[in-house]
Subunit: 425 residues, 2 copies
């Protein structure tokens, strides 16, 4: 489909983060064909969409999630962390069936669409199912392996999947990763490092989410998790770490030197009482920071608006400074920085040749009025209710509250609820 | 209108906070006429609404706002508190015109409806305008005076308004209040205390929002703001305090003894970097706690879903305990406790004879699935997008994203934007 968007505000995120009101955007097949003043086109549009003054911008990038954990949403809340993990999450995950993961992933993807999220970096079990769900809906996923344990065959599988997923479909890409320092044997981590070195690939993992995890690593190795993982060569080609709540000064140095990105998950860090990540300190230090929702068992929403408000709210509290982490920086984290961390440079902004992953924000709702500052409204008073349209790879998948996908949402809800009875705790 | 709601889940909040699935609710004129199993009615329904499995519950009560501050939304963000107040907010408020306040209030009320908020306790300038806006829309407002300064005539006006607003319209009630300890002379506070004593009325005010405010009061009077205000007899008939971020142990005792409620505004406290209120400590101590959005200049959303998540998120961080402030307690704060603090016992729950202020929550959206625990979903993954219907005083004012009010939202947006150019800063 070729689509023309006109008569709206555009925040391309291409250079400066600012809004233009005299431009239009043309989508040709799956790419942006033109962004600029109105002019005549040399191809025919299948649809011309009058934005009516609303805002068009790049879609949000969810840089950390375990999508299929939808099945655990509200199944175990308001519990101390270790009870939550050991008595609720792990036992239920141990029963997990691959055919269920397909439906649990579909449910998450629908939620992403309602929040204007156009891509996710996903780490979970049975990754073929998330890949299938993404392709079936038309959603963009970056699959990152969550290798853990001590069985070296898992590293082989990790490498196979990495190669397989990177050529399976235009909507899918893959990154090398492992669950965490504390959930892998030293042998495993060395093996993963070898694979990363072989492919000159960045590596992604959970890191320094809880204080206990850091203390345990120091006790065991004399190093912080960042120092320890780095000593194994795991970050020689960069990568990213999820959470990064408890980092040392030297960890900051390593992040900067190795070009490691921090993926902050403020909602999850609150809900599991992990702490407040030093996001503004990291940004000021020159570390790249992206945003993630984490999984729906620990957040429990997959809503980038909530993450955007929460991340800046927490920084203002942490630093006792209302000027901390301004809205524009938050928007960059949620879009451009996220895309780059995920290896999706083609979706980091709106410009000719970039992939058409974009959203339209409804400004004709009371929470977005008056239009004193549209971008600040987006972060400080915006809500997923303002998402009027979500387009991925040139296809409109969600518009005016209606899904335009090949799966039936009502049927997914029904199926997920039925499957869920299997995971009684 | 007489309306029957059937075939849904109901959380009446009447006794235990739980959900029933085999009951229906009848609304007759402006009250709940029946709640129980299906049976034949002795009156005719104008409309019968099939809830299709969705959730019906009492509307949210916003126990603290300055509604008309919509005009300042996103006009001054990411600034240190004192710069924000002295160079942005106060100068613009000094120019405020009463006829503008009507439209700024209308805009806030529309936003309340989208978030399922059915009543607000409002403190601002030109209160006749908020009263008029509320009546024109059909919204329920509790008007609390924000007396400040040193002109004792303002206290006379306060008393006159208190009496006037309490008999002006069934949707309007009034409470005695003043802006804050630091913004009133000692003479003023004594005078306000006399009026409260005369009417045996509870008193409401901002209290201990910032550390500096507390330190200044101690320096001046040797007492915390709570101790000082209490020493003047201001809380002899109870009342409530907005924010309560920085309270001492003795303040806790006074709150409990005098039956003073705390109205927590977590979003605003973050955005202005005021700190995290000791909400779970207050609740454990037996202090009543309600929730408020504060004004749209300092939040900037008027969204009770965001406040619900933020208040529990912050407690979990503050106490380093994921079990802090569970979702059910948060729901009570946002509905029942709020109503009682605002003097709206008639709207605190759904039961025969209570006023019909209720909302319907759409569960057929991905963020509310699966239905492992509907009430936890509401707090942890719910969003204003799930508000399917908002009824106040028996009238449906918002349904499926459409306002059913006598004012035209598009016209309000336009008018507010036009008026706003007057407040350039």
């Amino acid at each position: 489909m070729n689509i023309r968007f006109y008569n709206g505000l555009i925040c391309s995120m291409a250079k400066k983060i600012e809004i233009t009101s005299d431009e239009e955007i043309w989508v040709k097949e799956n790419k942006i064909a033109y962004l600029g003043p109105a002019k005549s086109s040399d191809f025919k549009f299948d649809r011309e969409i009058d934005l009516k003054g609303n805002l068009l911008m790049p879609g949000f990038k969810n840089a950390h999630a375990h999508s299929a954990m939808t099945f655990l949403r509200s199944k175990a809340d308001d519990l101390p962390l270790m009870d939550w993990l050991n008595y609720k999450i792990f036992p239920m995950e141990a029963k997990l069936k691959s055919e269920h993961v397909y439906y649990f992933s579909l449910l998450a993807i629908l939620e992403y669409l309602t929040s204007g999220i156009t891509a996710v970096m996903d780490m979970y079990f049975f990754q073929d199912e998330m890949v299938k769900a993404s392709i079936d809906v038309g959603f963009r996923s970056v699959i990152v392996s969550g290798t853990c344990g001590e069985d070296l065959n898992c590293v082989k599988k990790m490498e196979q999947d990495y190669l397989k997923f990177n050529k399976i479909h235009e909507l899918i890409s893959a990154l090398i990763g492992f669950h965490a320092e504390y959930s892998n044997s030293n042998e495993m981590l060395k093996c993963i490092s070898q694979v990363a070195q072989k492919h000159k690939a960045p590596v992604f993992t959970h890191n320094s989410e809880s204080k206990r995890e850091v203390d345990d690593c120091i006790k065991k190795s004399g190093m912080t998790p960042t120092e320890y993982l780095n000593s194994l060569g795991l970050f020689d080609f960069g990568g990213g770490c999820f959470h990064c709540v408890h980092l040392s000064e030297n960890d900051f140095e390593i992040f900067k030197q190795k070009g490691i990105a921090a993926i902050s998950c403020p909602g999850s860090n609150c809900k599991l009482a992990s702490g407040i990540a030093p996001v503004s300190d990291m940004l000021n230090f020159g570390i790249k920071v992206a945003l993630g929702t984490d999984g729906p068992a620990s957040n429990n929403a997959l809503d980038m608006f909530r993450e955007m408000f929460t991340v800046t709210a927490l920084q203002k509290i942490r630093n006792a400074d209302a000027a901390s982490l301004d809205a524009i920086k938050v928007l960059e984290m949620a879009t451009k920085f996220g895309a780059r961390v995920m290896g999706l440079e083609d979706c980091d902004s709106l410009a000719p040749g970039k992939l058409a992953d974009l959203i339209v924000i409804d400004l004709q709702q009371p929470n977005m009025q008056p239009l004193n500052n549209v971008l600040k409204n987006l972060v400080y008073s915006g809500s997923k209710q303002n998402v009027k349209l979500t387009m991925i790879n040139g296809r409109i998948l969600y518009e005016n509250g209606v899904f335009n996908v090949s799966v039936d949402p009502e049927k997914i809800y029904k199926t997920v609820n039925e499957m869920n009875s299997y995971y009684k705790n």
